[in-house]
Amino acid sequence: MNLENRKRELAIEFSPLLEKTTTVSKIWIATLVLIILVGLYAFIVQFTQGQIVTGMRDNAVWGIYTVNFIFFVCLSYSGAFISGILHFIHTPWKNSVSRMVEIITVLSLIIGPIYIILCMARLDRLLYLFMYPRIQSPITWDIIAVMTDLIGCFIYLFLTFIPDFAILRDNSENAPKWRQKMYKYFAIGYQDTPKQRIKLHKITRTMSAMIIAMAIIAYSVLAWVFSLTLQPGWDSSIFGPYFIVAGLYTGIAVIIIVMYLIRKYYHLESYIRKVHFSGAGIILLVLSLLYGYFTFSEYFTRWFSHKLYDTNLLNTLFTRYFWMFVFANYIGVLVPIVILFFNKLRNIKSITFAAVIAIVGLWFNRYLIVIPTLETPYIPIQDTREEFIHYTATWVEWSLSLAGVAAFILFFILLMKLVPIIPMSGIIDHERGQAKRKKSIK
């Protein structure tokens, strides 16, 4: 097998993904840009008029911004975790999903923390977090964890991109000049020589192990932001592992949805096959069982101990938030379990449907962790106006939330225009490995 020819073949095969922009994708991009622009307008409104334009008040100081922050950051950590694990698994099918996971990791880690900045009423004091950090504060740990993890994920993503940049550099004679220059710059002179390959594999392997460890630490730190307080509903010793399981559940569900969309709109059926969905579906099933167990354990112990403030919180969950509670903790867990448990029900569409249900349920779960606790404080609420007692998100918050999702999708599409979503280097490595094995058999 001539590797250079094979690389050229792959570059030609994937070049339409990079170069062609269909009308549908143009409409998609325009819609996403529009949503982001509405979000920008909402941000200007919030920045100029203050947080009065949001539903956040004295008691519910956190709203859907925090929910989105937890959602995206957990998604990122789970992406990092899964990506790290995938690197150590030697199987051909991992190649089709690894890049998606890496992109999900980095993009969600960029978008997630923006929501925390939106939560801050006095952005001018943002610098104080860095100037006067308190090592005793979980918020400080979270800032350190998010920033360290973000840099680590960037490095890791770059490492996995290098071989593909090198292939594209050597095989994109017809591409625009800026693209050629960019590939050359980011390929950092990588020629796929055995020496360079060993070095790159070595540091990628170390970084994989590192980001798995960092994901677990960062997950736990995020959970501790809540569980180290004495607030009812937050003060829990199982929040660390609960967040890890919930995060992985989110991660797998998002990967399934992304796989489905990419397979459908980019016609990559030969690369993203049913086996990928079945594998991811089984993992999602295991995680949904674990997540369901943790959720039950969390609420059961609160209900059984019957502490006054926990009881108040549970009453709120079973009255004002009844349907959300049912969706988050019953439908969001049981529907995926039922779909994924029976082999007959397990097909690409149903697995994707289960993933969508899981995602919606998980978002509601985060909402129920953050908001009802703030609405049932220890100290009686002094200002008895409705908006002070109960939190309701405003159009500004919804616009910025949707803008975050739109930005995630838009950047995903743009990154897919930069490098193929299926790593060419992974295919080459796999074929090289097969060739070696054949030689050794002979």
């Binding site: 090592i135 005793q136 350190i144 840099i151 390929a187 950092i188 002179g189 020589t193 540091i203």
Partner: protein, 301 residues
């Protein structure tokens, strides 16, 4: 027509009453259901003035816990037939009147002062009165350091019409100090020969300046009523229990282990990043060398 008008007024009033006062229906304001209680007490204060205090409360005949203070009732205070003054009851049903030091009281042959409080009645309430007979007691409080021992000296006596002092016998005297909300009792003794000595504790903090208010009190005595005398003294021993704590969760600098763990973690992670970047530069350097070799090869060809 007229009856319909009244009916509407009544219904509207009831609705308004319902909206604005839910408790209104459960309150019975008819005074005939209440037994009026007027009670008089007296306090001889630190400056030897005497305060007369009346509590005027209505108590529900059926529900004894239901007590209703009588507000704005005019109370007249007498010494025998001699009107001392008047005061009106507060929202709590309390009326107070202070008789200055040096008041010449009318006393009986045993030296008792007869004090009377009288409410002369109103449209809804009957006349009420109460009286007490007390002797004018003199308390003296001296705070002295005797041989470096902080000592509280109490003298209690009565005076007859000629000014002759008679020491007090067999009466309970309480020594206490002032606190933020109430007094803290230190000692309660039965005074004999009109004198009492008490060794003051050496471990009481006082206020920020070490000031302590010491009280000697006679409470609810049948013959003397309430008598109080107090004095401020700098006998407090201020102990600063607020130890400055270092490296705690709540101190400015955190626990040491936190710094150590964080440093190890960050060093480990960032060292790995550095290691990765160094390797990337090595890869880049090798790439440049390969490029150079290729250029040289092409030139040779």
């Amino acid at each position: 027509m007229k009856s319909i008008k009244y009916k509407y007024i009544l219904i509207t009033s009831l609705i308004i009453a319902f909206f604005f006062n839910f408790n209104g229906f459960s309150q019975e304001l008819d005074a005939s259901n209440y037994k009026m209680r007027l009670s008089l007490s007296t306090f001889k204060q630190n400056d030897n003035s005497r305060m007369l205090e009346v509590s005027f409360i209505g108590q529900n005949k059926e529900d004894r816990k239901d007590k209703l203070p009588v507000f704005d009732a005019e109370i007249k205070f007498y010494n025998e037939d001699n009107l001392l003054g008047t005061a009106k009851t507060s929202k709590e049903g309390i009326a107070q009147f202070t008789i200055p030091e040096g008041q010449n009281y009318i006393t009986d042959e045993d030296g008792f002062i007869n004090l009377i409080a009288k409410f002369e009645g109103s449209d809804g309430l009957d006349e009420e009165d109460d009286d007490i007979q007390i002797k004018d007691l003199f308390l003296e409080l001296n705070l002295k350091e005797i041989d470096s021992v902080k000592t509280v000296l109490v003298r209690a006596f009565t005076k007859d019409s000629t000014g002759v002092e008679t020491p007090l016998e067999g009466v309970n005297v309480i020594i206490s100090i002032g606190g933020m909300l109430s007094k803290m009792k230190l000692e309660e003794v039965i005074i004999e020969d009109g004198e009492f000595e008490y060794v003051f504790p050496t471990d009481l903090p006082g206020d920020v300046n070490g000031e302590i208010i010491v009280y000697s009190t006679i409470q609810d005595n049948d013959d003397f009523g309430n008598v109080v005398k107090n004095e401020s003294v700098n006998w407090g021993v201020f102990k600063n229990n607020n130890l400055i704590e270092h490296n705690q969760l709540w101190s400015e600098a955190g626990p040491l282990w936190m710094y150590i763990v964080l440093t190890i973690l960050l060093l480990g992670v960032w060292a790995n990043y550095l290691y990765t970047v160094i390797y990337l530069f090595k890869i880049k350097k090798e790439g440049k060398e390969i490029d150079r070799e290729q250029v040289e090869l092409n030139t040779e060809l």
